[in-house]
């Protein structure tokens, strides 16, 4: 049943939010600390658990996939209701923060690739030495 998928999604969503709110109260700030992230982890764990038991049917998945396919339209709708008029004066910052951190991460790609290659070589060498 498709509704099972939607129900599990809603349950994970709520539990994550409650966890986030609770964490916020625990450290004494008025914020939802990481709620959506917790919800996502819960959903991955729940579906993995069901997958391992072969309970994950196509019908169940379609209940979640429907909502995940709606995320771009919802983001578009979200952008339509922002206070852009108030933000326009500092629009330069959007351009800078869109580009500079990304450029920096581009530079990190070859560095991290080399690191991981060196690492896997070392592991191989260790294995050879042991052999």
């Amino acid at each position: 049943m498709m509704i099972y998928g939607v129900a599990i999604l809603a349950a994970c969503f709520l539990m994550g939010k409650v966890l986030g709110e609770g964490l916020g109260q625990l450290i004494g700030i008025d914020a939802n600390v990481g709620g959506v992230g917790f919800s996502m982890i819960l959903l991955i764990a729940a579906t993995q658990w069901m997958h391992n038991r072969r309970w994950l049917t196509e019908q169940f998945e379609s209940g979640v996939v429907f909502w995940s396919n709606l995320y771009i339209p919802v983001i578009v709708a979200m952008s339509v209701i922002q206070n852009v008029k108030g933000a326009l004066s500092s629009g330069v910052i959007a351009i800078l923060t869109g580009i500079i951190p990304t450029a920096l991460c581009f530079f990190l790609v070859p560095w991290l690739s080399n690191l991981s290659r060196a690492n896997s070589k070392e592991v191989l060498q260790e294995k050879e030495n042991k052999a």
Binding site: L23, A77, V80, I81, N83, I93
Partner: protein
């Protein structure tokens, strides 16, 4: 005639759904016709959305974008934080932790570095531009991750709508920049094998940009980049409004 407008306003969600559908269709057409698919349709749609929000603010003097125009009040529900967070959580469905194991330690390191470096540099830039409160700084830093992490962080910690709008715009610009720059920078990044594609996906993270950029570089690399990129938004939504925001708050006090 009055009754028709009444119905349209009362069932405003329908108008919002129809308008969003039209906007996305139009953006897809513009993307193919004028940019040869180089700028992804969703990016154009989100930017057009921001432009419409400006128009709404200009016409009504309100602070809720187009939702302040009676006929389009349904956008407040469709684009509100409830549906947004619900659909974003749903996107985690396809992800499997077992997939992440394939990317191994370098993949995890790339993900964490990707989120943290973008956040720190974003916060630094926002600070240079004169923002001083932890909420605005963290939201703009989160916007440097993706156009989803920004607004999710912003509404979780209570940032203003202007700052959230900036974080969306920053994320969209990142996604466009990634799409255009990837094929061009692929050689100097050594982006020609599955391992480096996974690291690239983790460091950059913006899913639509990563997929489009890799497709233009070498379609065979797309699934490898996608493995790590799918976890990026989730990790961003987890780290930015929690650990990273708290550290920032602590440093400012």
């Amino acid at each position: 005639m009055k009754s028709l407008t009444d119905i349209l306003i009362r069932d405003g969600l329908m108008i919002a759904l129809i308008s969003t559908g039209l906007l996305i269709a139009l953006s897809a057409w513009i993307s193919n016709r004028f940019t040869n698919g180089k700028i992804p349709g969703p990016a154009i749609a989100i930017f057009s959305g921001l432009a419409l929000a400006y128009l709404g603010g200009y016409l009504t003097g309100g602070s809720n974008g187009l939702a302040d125009v009676g006929l389009f009040s349904g956008f407040a529900l469709l684009g509100g934080s409830l549906l947004r967070d619900f659909t974003i959580v749903a996107t985690a469905m396809g992800a499997r932790f077992s997939e992440m194991k394939k990317a191994g330690l370098p993949g995890v390191l790339a993900l964490v570095l990707g989120v943290v470096v973008s956040f720190i540099v974003g916060v630094g830039l926002a600070g240079l531009m004169g923002y001083r409160d932890a909420e605005s700084l963290a939201t703009i830093g989160a916007g440097a991750c993706t156009f989803i992490v920004g607004p999710v962080t912003g509404s979780a910690i209570g940032a203003t709508s202007e700052v959230i709008a900036l974080s969306i715009a920053a994320g969209v610009i990142k996604s466009i920049a990634v799409t255009i720059a990837t094929p061009w920078a692929a050689k100097s990044m050594g982006l020609n094998n599955p391992q480096s594609a996974m690291i690239y996906g983790g460091l950059i993270g913006t899913t639509s940009g990563v997929a489009a950029g890799l497709a233009a570089t070498d379609p065979k690399l797309v699934p490898y980049g996608a493995i790590t990129a799918t976890f990026y938004t989730g990790l961003g939504c987890l780290l930015c409004p929690s650990v990273l925001y708290l550290i920032l708050r602590w440093m400012l006090n």
